[in-house]
């Protein structure tokens, strides 16, 4: 089972967190900090697995993570999950974000937190994998987008202009 999915940037700022087990808000923040501490001190090109921090269950759980440009994607899982499988799942998640946001960057996650949650919800539910097929996931997300469109008036294009001015600062390419 997946216990938690955390995304934070190179400075440890959380960009999305999703816990599939109940913790107090304080503990959640502590877990994010602890995980950042564990993951960020590791060199590039070492292995993508390590034992979980104490707050989230110690050696019972594994942290499986990938580092993309400015962001860390960390899945905390128990022993019932395949490590390489989760690694692939992270990749599917990121590729899906990339498709949905067109060249996703950190700012997309900041300004569209709700959508990131929606996309994740199409993949993982209650800590278990719901769907791994990227085109299926994107179809669902698109369908939601259309519904949204039909309901909301199109507002200003502030977002896009703002994004163009800021995006140059972040160079996140997904390999």
């Amino acid at each position: 089972m997946i216990k938690a999915i955390l995304i934070f940037n190179n400075h440890g700022k959380p960009r999305m967190s999703k816990f599939y087990e109940h913790y107090t808000e304080d503990t959640e923040q502590q877990i994010i900090r602890e995980t950042f501490h564990l993951v960020s001190k590791r060199d590039e090109n070492v292995c993508n697995f390590l034992e979980g921090g104490l707050l989230i269950g110690g050696s019972e759980n594994k942290l499986i993570y990938r580092h993309y440009a400015t962001l860390y994607f960390v899945f905390c899982v128990d022993s019932s999950e395949s490590e390489l499988g989760i690694l692939d799942l992270i990749q599917v998640f990121v590729e899906t974000l990339d498709k949905c946001f067109e060249n996703v960057c950190e700012l997309d996650l900041i300004f569209h937190l709700d959508k990131v949650h929606n996309i994740l919800a199409e993949m993982v539910m209650g800590g278990m994998v719901l769907e791994t097929n990227m085109s299926e996931i994107i179809t669902q997300v698109e369908a939601q987008g259309k519904m949204e469109k039909s309901e909301t008036l199109t507002l200003l294009f502030i977002w896009q202009s703002m994004r163009q001015s800021q995006a140059s600062r972040f160079s996140s390419k997904i390999s």
Binding site: S80, S82, L84, H112, A143, E151, Q160
Partner: protein, 957 residues
């Protein structure tokens, strides 16, 4: 076109986020957030009704604020209102807020449940999915109560959309995990298994997680899933990479599903049906073959997906442990991975090999990789990989390679990462003990351990080396010589001083013949370390000195001089001062004979499970050290100490053969006290040197008032009755253990008095604060038992242990058990648990020996019907005579031989000592081996006692 349209964002939200991001300092950020929170609060409270769009915007802002780590204590109601909106966007944001922010015990659950109910019956698949997601996310008991019946119906209904089926499967899984009692098996269960055949791969993917969980809990009911899973797997494995279209991931067909199928099969033994098994073996072979094929893509995703399946297949092969051919292939494959350039694969290969090493078919094959693994330990850049390498070395170690492996681990320890040192030390200590052929090697290894990594050598490790040296006289001289040499290093670790002090105090005479290690030289060497040591070590050294006086009368004046010095006899530490005073007095007034008796060499320790192994197990959490390993450890330990007796039963027998003296039990909580305490006073005097606990045990040192016993209507844990039963026939052991806390217990009883030592061990690395314990006697027990507990330290550091002493006086006979309530805070969360203290009436038994004639006479005297209690019950354990005897002895009565005409039967006699009266009791246990039944008859002068004894004992056999 991107799937997420960016143009329709909420302007206010974007501005707010930008503001926050532009904040220069944390203070500015908090200020901006507080301003926004005030704004939202006033909007929500305002008279004007907000439209859906505004509500959505504000709820989004709250979500963002929450992510930044600020508490959100309002907005829940607004989010719940959004649920009933007809607009998808509003509904969706409401659900999101609730999923992220509402925990399972919120009062809003009822309102939320209402909205969910509406959405589930809406027949709009999108709304249904949102509702199912919400249930899966919150997963509270109230939700389970409301929906556990409905969801299985949605899951198996013919007209349910695929996407809803997927969500329903995982939603049900979540409810099953949180409240298994509410998810009732029924007609749907067989249909769920058939989802493995579903056309839609997404449905299979979701359903298999549910099926795996259900199978683990009810393997028999779901047995049919094995053949279905095998045929599904076989279809995937043999398909071409294009067959499964979208479920093909970088040229690998349905990797995720394949892994899950292989996991599901690991819940069951190999299929019995030959055809199914043949098909499965074929699949496994195909997977192994594919690993050798050239990759279809250079992308790492391709090899990840392929190898994920391969590793799961290998796990299944190891799980079956029945196909030598496949096992060897698996081992070779892992061997290849050990040298792979991908770190991830090396890590996983080391990990899988650990499990493979325990299989008899492949143990030898694993051993051939020893050089590679040692190399990994030395050269891997990544500490997680090195740790796996150390684990594997530990797993592959046996008699043939122990010396090499221990030497490599020792040399690695010098540079090992701090985070794994303690565990490495334990492992080295265990291997050294387990595979020691000659004990000088063992002693060398442990002393090396202390030298290299003294800080990480836990008490258990050095207790153990002393235990072994004391029990084996062939190694004592060598040990004395070696510690003497080790102590000559200008700087040596305090643990070395402890071992040195103890061993020289006991066996210094064995090397005193050599003028280079004459008694005075030994003493001066030890004393040169004295001022550098902590109080417990100093206390130990003082005891070593008094032992020296006995061993070498010529040192007497020098040592008395030291004891008499102000720094000892007026030491501000009360314990040191007391020892100095007492030892000084003892050495000056006692005759040589008395000294020799009091300070006699320690008697051998009874055999017991290695405390180190217990420690490693504790460290790794339950399950990490397999039962086998423990058993093996026990067996090997028995050999090592050359003791004839072993195992729990003998320990119980032993504890009853002698006067129990809990303070003498210094090496572990799990076991009984030593066989003999030759001179009880000397025993506890010297032995308490080892534990600070022992120091405070003395009772007269502790001046703190006992905490008041108050009435507290706490309900004990459901399993506490079981825990109680565990201790009917023994006095020591582990009372309770969970992820955080271990409670060990030692107790002794004399007449109608008892003393119990509770040891609270913090298993985490975080301190427990406001740790309080209360002992209460519920109901009428209050007038039957007098229980006093000393207060316990309110703070327990991570990994530390504190002790509590409880004094018990039995006023009259009783049936209930006192309750122990424990409260503390761990990482902010209040922990509260209540246990039953294992104080049972039989603890106050005084054994009574009597001849056959007397027995039957008394038996007849107790002939009133209410004086007898009888039970006929089925045997719960094997009917082994020795075990039965040990248990009866543990009960506290005298086991009478040659009394019953039938030698198969057991009869016992004893008197229960209470303050009010003495209750004589007789017992007869008649085993019927054929029927696996017992008949137990208890007669005693008081009817309540007969009844209670009968109840207690019926659970024991």
């Amino acid at each position: 076109m991107p799937a997420v349209s960016k143009g329709d964002g909420m302007r206010g939200l974007a501005v707010f986020i930008s503001d926050i991001r532009n904040c220069k300092s944390k203070e500015a950020e908090i200020k901006r957030i507080n301003k926004e929170l005030a704004n939202i609060r006033s909007k929500f409270k305002g008279d004007k009704a907000l439209d859906g769009y505004s509500k959505k915007k504000y709820v989004c802002k709250l979500l963002f604020i929450f992510l930044l780590g600020h508490d959100i204590d309002f907005g829940h109601m607004e989010a719940v209102n959004l649920l009933s909106s007809n607009k998808y966007t509003e509904k969706q944001i409401g659900y999101l807020f609730i999923s992220v922010l509402v925990n399972s015990n919120s009062e809003l659950i009822r309102l939320i449940n209402n909205a969910i109910k509406n959405d589930l019956s809406s027949r709009n698949p999108t709304f249904m999915c949102l509702a199912l997601h919400c249930i899966a996310n919150v997963g509270s008991r109230e939700m389970a109560e409301a929906f556990a019946g409905e969801i299985p119906r949605i899951l198996v209904a013919g007209d349910t959309m695929d996407s809803v089926k997927q969500s329903a499967a995982l939603c049900l899984l979540r409810l099953y995990k949180t409240s298994p009692d509410l998810v009732l098996m029924g007609e749907w269960t067989s249909r769920v298994v058939h989802l493995l055949n579903d056309q839609h791969m997404g449905v299979v993917t979701a359903a298999i997680s549910l099926i795996t969980c259900l199978s683990q809990k009810n393997p028999d009911e779901f047995k049919t899933c094995v053949s279905l899973a095998v045929s599904r797997l076989s279809r995937i494995v043999s398909s071409a990479s294009t067959d499964l279209q979208d479920y093909t991931y970088y040229f690998v067909p349905a990797p995720w599903l394949s892994c899950k199928l292989l996991r599901l099969l690991q819940c069951y033994p190999p299929p019995e049906d030959g055809a199914v098994k043949g098909r499965l073996v074929e699949c496994l072979e195909t997977i192994l073959n594919k690993a050798q094929e050239p990759p279809k893509s250079k992308k790492v995703q391709h090899s990840n997906a392929k190898n994920a399946i391969l590793f799961e297949a290998i796990s299944l092969i190891i799980h079956y442990d029945s196909e030598p051919n496949l096992l060897v292939r698996a081992c070779n494959q892992l061997g290849q991975f050990l040298q792979h350039r991908e770190t991830n694969l090396r890590y996983l290969a080391l990990e899988s090999m650990c499990t493979l090493a325990s299989s008899e078919f492949s143990h030898e094959a694993v051993k051939t990789h020893i050089e590679t693994v040692i190399n990994a330990l030395k050269t891997e850049r990544d500490v997680s990989v090195r740790q796996r390498a150390a684990d594997l070395l530990y797993a592959m170690c046996d008699r043939s390679n122990a010396k090499q492996i221990v030497a490599e681990m020792l040399s690695y320890l010098e540079t090992a990462d701090y985070s794994i040192r303690e565990e490495m030390v334990l492992k080295v200590a265990i291997l050294a003990e387990k595979y020691a052929v000659d004990y000088s090697w063992y002693v060398d290894t442990i002393l090396n351990l202390i030298r290299i990594a003294g800080d990480y050598v836990s008490e258990e490790v050095w207790y153990r080396v002393i235990q072994i040296v004391i029990n084996r006289d062939d190694v004592q001289g060598y040990a004395a010589k070696t510690v003497f040499e080790a102590l000559q290093a200008p700087a040596c670790h305090e643990n070395m001083v402890k071992v040195g002090g103890y061993i020289l105090g006991e066996f210094g005479n064995l090397i005193a013949g050599d003028p280079r290690s004459s008694p005075l030289v030994q003493f001066n060497l030890l004393h040169s370390k004295f001022h550098l040591c902590s109080v417990p070590t100093r206390a130990l050294l003082l005891s070593a000195y008094i032992k020296f006086i006995n061993l070498f009368p010529e040192t007497k004046s020098t040592i008395q001089e030291v004891l008499r010095s102000d720094s000892q006899i007026r030491n501000s530490d009360v314990e040191l001062q007391q020892r100095a005073v007492e030892y000084l007095k003892l050495s000056s007034i006692a005759s040589t004979d008395v000294l020799a008796t009091v300070l006699e060499e320690m008697p051998p320790f009874p055999e017991r499970e290695s405390s180190i192994l217990a420690k490693l197990k504790k460290k790794k959490g339950p399950g990490a050290v397999s039962v086998n390993e423990l058993e093996e450890g026990k067996r090997e330990g028995g050999e090592l100490n050359g003791g004839g007796e072993r195992g729990d039963n003998s320990a119980i027998a032993a504890s009853n053969a002698s006067t129990p003296s809990p303070s003498a039990d210094l090496l572990g909580l799990r076991t009984g006290p030593p066989v003999t305490a030759a001179a009880p006073s000397a025993g506890s005097l010297l032995v308490d040197v080892f534990s600070e606990a022992g120091v405070n045990d003395d009772g007269f040192l502790s001046s703190a008032p006992p905490s008041v016993v108050s009435e507290d209507p706490a309900t004990p844990l459901p399993e506490s009755n079981e825990l109680l039963n565990k201790f009917v026939c023994k006095n020591n052991g582990v009372l309770f253990e969970n992820q955080l806390l271990q409670i060990g217990i030692k107790s002794e009883y004399r007449q109608n008095l008892g003393r119990m030592y509770l040891f609270y061990g913090n298993k985490t690395s975080v301190q427990f604060i406001t740790f309080t314990t209360t002992v209460t006697c519920p109901g009428e027990l209050q007038s039957q038992l007098n229980v006093q507990s000393k207060p316990v330290e309110p703070l327990i550091e991570g990994g530390a242990q504190v002790q509590q002493v409880i004094n018990i006086e039995c006023l009259t006979d009783f049936s209930d058990a006192p309750l122990l309530n424990i409260k503390f805070r761990y990482g902010g969360a209040l922990q509260n648990l209540t246990l039953k203290l294992p104080v049972t009436i039989n603890k106050f038994f005084q054994p009574t020996e009597m001849a056959s004639h007397d027995f039957f006479q008394r038996w007849k005297q107790l002939s009133l019907p209410q004086q007898e209690a009888q039970k006929i019950f089925k045997a719960n354990h094997a009917m082994d005579t020795e075990v039965l005897k040990a248990k009866l002895l543990g009960l506290g009565m005298a086991l009478l031989e040659n009394v019953d005409p039938n030698p198969e039967n057991f009869v016992c006699a004893g008197v229960i000592q209470t303050k009010a009266q003495q209750v004589g009791s007789l017992l007869r246990l008649e085993p019927n081996a054929q029927a696996q039944m017992y008949r137990l008859t208890v007669r005693s002068s008081k009817d309540t006692v007969s009844k209670r004894l009968c109840e207690l004992l019926a659970e024991q056999f």
